[in-house]
């Protein structure tokens, strides 16, 4: 019986966990030394400032202590993680030019489909390089720039803009993995939306890791000028492999006056990954950032997107879901800094833990003296699917003005036997019944996602729920 169960789970996982043999010659070698960073700069043709930036970041990385306040990352041997892997292909703008094995991988992930279904563009990162990139004409015609960050850096039209924004919001001194990112970052997207341009169709990029032991350090930089708007979707899914995998990406979002950005992600890392991702948004007067975040997979995750509300009336909304299964410890949450009057933030998260998984939700809301008349509401609901799983809520509030309205609510629950019996009495198997309850629980997040992503998330929940019946 239990053997059968394991088999089922393995087959299902294979739908998302698949990888291809990488060409060994493409490795730059293990460990992170100044030489490696230099070689990376050579390979990338870095400008002088980037060359220096990488080396300075490496210094900071060496000096900074290991993160030690959250889930254990002892199993992570950063020096042995290959920091950079080239794929065999260069940039492609036509699907037909994408190498067959890469194409097959994407096909399994449904990328060309999504493309057909009127998404604005796909910038998918295979290993560390962008191999497929295509922005719909109309988006480009409106003046929106959507390209890979590396080539944008070498484009004189954007070089200065990037230099003045790159890792200014998340400096290498922020924490050890931000420093590591500054040293070895590779790949990622650059989006620029000019003043007044409202982008109707969402821009999408899909990341995944391939090579065994490969680190991935992609950088996303998005700049929205005044009165513009954009929906950017980032999806991640990684194949399963045996050595410790590390993801230390960085996302920097600049939201100008009265601009509005929605940033959606569904992350589905393979179960041995350390996901130490840093995401941050700076919102000017009257601007708005909306985060929609689904965290699946990984062995350990540290993920707390931060919104800095810097101008009067700036707003942040965070809707997130985290699913921690067997052997997983997902430490997620959101941070908000209210730096100006009349700013508002709204955090609404759900977390699910199962088969001994641990899910910890941290919120940190800071309301500074200047932020009079600001409002913040934090709500967190956890669902534990069995008695061996854990769920914790750690809300932190630092309120420095008495003229603010701040609320926090946390609920922890279990799936009730009565509910499962009710659904089973209508013909649903125990597994389907539980999956339906969990999907319902996650509904407020899937509602925020574009349809095909909501479907993918529901499928992921279905996969995670498989084999859960003892």
């Amino acid at each position: 019986m239990s053997e059968e169960k394991t088999k089922v789970a393995d087959i299902d996982r294979s739908l998302y966990d698949f990888r291809y043999e990488e060409d060994e010659r493409d490795f730059l070698g293990s460990g992170i030394t100044a030489d490696i960073i230099g070689a990376l700069s050579d390979e990338k043709g870095d400008t002088d400032w980037m060359r220096e930036f990488r080396l300075r970041s490496l210094e900071i990385y060496r000096r900074m202590p290991m993160v030690n306040w959250g889930p254990s990352i002892e199993g992570l041997d950063v020096d042995n993680i290959v920091t950079y892997i080239r794929t065999k292909s260069r940039m492609n703008s036509d699907w037909n030019d994408v190498p067959a094995d890469i194409k097959d991988t994407f096909e399994k992930l449904g990328i060309p489909q999504a493309e057909r279904e009127s998404l604005a563009g796909v910038g998918a990162q295979y290993d560390s390089e962008l191999v497929y990139h295509n922005v719909r004409k109309e988006v480009a015609e409106s003046g929106v720039v959507y390209t890979d960050l590396e080539s944008a850096m070498h484009d004189e039209r954007y070089a200065e803009l990037i230099r003045s924004h790159f890792m200014k919001l998340v400096p290498p001194t922020d924490h050890k993995f931000a420093a590591l990112h500054g040293a070895v970052w590779s790949g990622g997207s650059f989006v620029y939306v000019p003043a007044g341009v409202k982008t109707e169709i969402p821009l999408q990029s899909y990341f995944r890791l391939n090579a065994r032991g490969a680190g991935q350090f992609e950088h996303t930089l998005i700049i929205l000028e005044e009165n513009s708007s954009l929906h950017f979707i980032e999806g991640c899914s990684a194949p399963k492999y045996y050595e410790a995998g590390l993801h230390a990406g960085c996302v920097e979002l600049y939201v100008g006056r009265n601009a509005s950005l929605r940033y959606s992600t569904i992350e589905n890392w393979s179960k041995n990954m350390y996901n130490l991702n840093t995401k941050r948004a700076l919102v000017e007067e009257g601007g708005k950032i909306e985060w929609v975040s689904g965290s699946f997979g990984s062995h350990v995750s540290y993920l707390y997107p931060m919104s800095i509300l810097n101008g009067r009336g700036a707003r942040a909304e965070f809707t997130g879901i985290t699913f921690a299964g067997e052997g997983q410890e997902l430490d997620t949450g959101a941070k908000i800094v209210h730096n100006a009057p009349d700013t508002s933030s709204y955090i609404n998260t759900k977390s699910i833990s199962k088969d001994g998984g641990i899910s910890t939700f941290r919120s940190a809301v800071t309301v500074n003296e200047k932020a009079v008349g600001s409002k913040s509401s934090v709500s967190c609901e956890s669902l534990m699917l069995d008695s061996i799983s854990r769920s914790d809520t750690i809300p932190v509030m630092d309120i420095r003005t008495d003229k603010a309205d701040v609320g926090h609510e946390a609920k922890i629950g279990r799936i009730s036997d009565d509910t499962v019996f009710y659904l089973m009495s209508r013909g649903l198997s125990e597994e389907d019944a539980k999956a339906m309850i969990v999907r319902g629980f996650a509904d407020n997040v899937s509602k925020e996602l574009p349809l095909e992503y909501a479907v993918e998330m529901n499928n992921l929940i279905g996969l995670e729920m498989k084999g859960s019946i003892g």
Partner: protein, 249 residues
């Protein structure tokens, strides 16, 4: 005629406590049975055990459905055979709409894909019979429904799922006078369409007015203490349970 449901010597309970002591109950195809008894007699327990609730363990006797032993089957398998329970306290499920839930259930029961359009049409038609606002189809299942609305939603499920045997556990309690009428009409419509069998658990005969009752069973302290025809139900309402419970003394 072969029997639809045959319960023989059913003994069941929870850990350390027997709640049903050797119940016999036979329901033929198309028949309507009434189950009455004082509070705490074990009526809901019996309904749950017939449906296959894992809350109770069966320690003796058997349950046959269409001649097959289902005593140890899980609830979903029994549902697929055609058994349905209208709950005394229907549960609320956030994030799952009534319509989506019913479509899912229907597909599980029939093993066939149901076209969204056809499903919506049928659902709307069934909701009309019960005087339910069609907007309820898109609301989360039972969430924020009033007590009476939840009961109506149970009968709506009965109409959509069309089981062969429906156990209605106090579907009439908490309903206003008019609602009892509409719900009765819904149950009548179910019988007319499917010719299915009913076990009606109630404290009130009003819901039975429109139904032709074949048999009444009185349960007390987990035992059947009296059985009779339709007249027995009326008699109980008029005189109470006393004489049946102490009948043996």
């Amino acid at each position: 005629m072969s029997q639809l449901l045959e319960i023989k010597g059913l003994t069941a309970g929870i850990e350390g406590k027997t709640l049903l002591h050797g119940i016999d109950l036979t329901v033929g195809a198309g028949e309507t049975h009434v189950l009455m008894g004082p509070n705490g007699a074990g009526k809901s327990t019996l309904g749950s055990v017939i449906m296959g609730s894992p809350e109770y363990a069966v320690s003796g006797g058997s349950i046959l459905f269409k001649g097959e032993d289902i005593t140890d089957e899980s609830a979903d398998k029994r549902a697929k055979r055609g058994i349905f329970l209208s709950f005394q306290d229907p549960v609320e499920i956030a994030g799952v709409s009534l319509s989506e839930f019913l479509r899912n259930a229907l597909e599980q029961l029939t093993g066939k894909h149901t076209k969204l359009w056809d499903h919506k049409k049928k659902l709307k038609q069934c909701m009309e019979i019960l005087g339910m606002d069609s907007a309820y189809a898109d609301r989360d299942l039972n969430v924020g429904f009033s007590g009476g609305e939840k009961k109506k939603a149970e009968i709506l499920q009965l109409l959509v799922l069309e089981p062969q045997l429906a156990i209605l556990d106090e579907t009439d309690s908490g309903l206003d006078v008019d609602a009892v009428k509409t719900v009765s009409a819904g149950i009548e419509e179910y019988k007319r369409r499917t010719g299915g069998s009913l076990i009606v658990i109630t404290h009130n005969t009003r819901i039975l007015d429109a139904l032709k009752v074949d048999k009444t069973h009185i349960l007390a302290a987990g035992k059947t203490v009296a059985e009779g025809g339709a007249e027995l139900a009326g008699d109980v309402i008029e005189h109470g349970f006393e004489r049946y419970i102490n009948g043996g003394k």
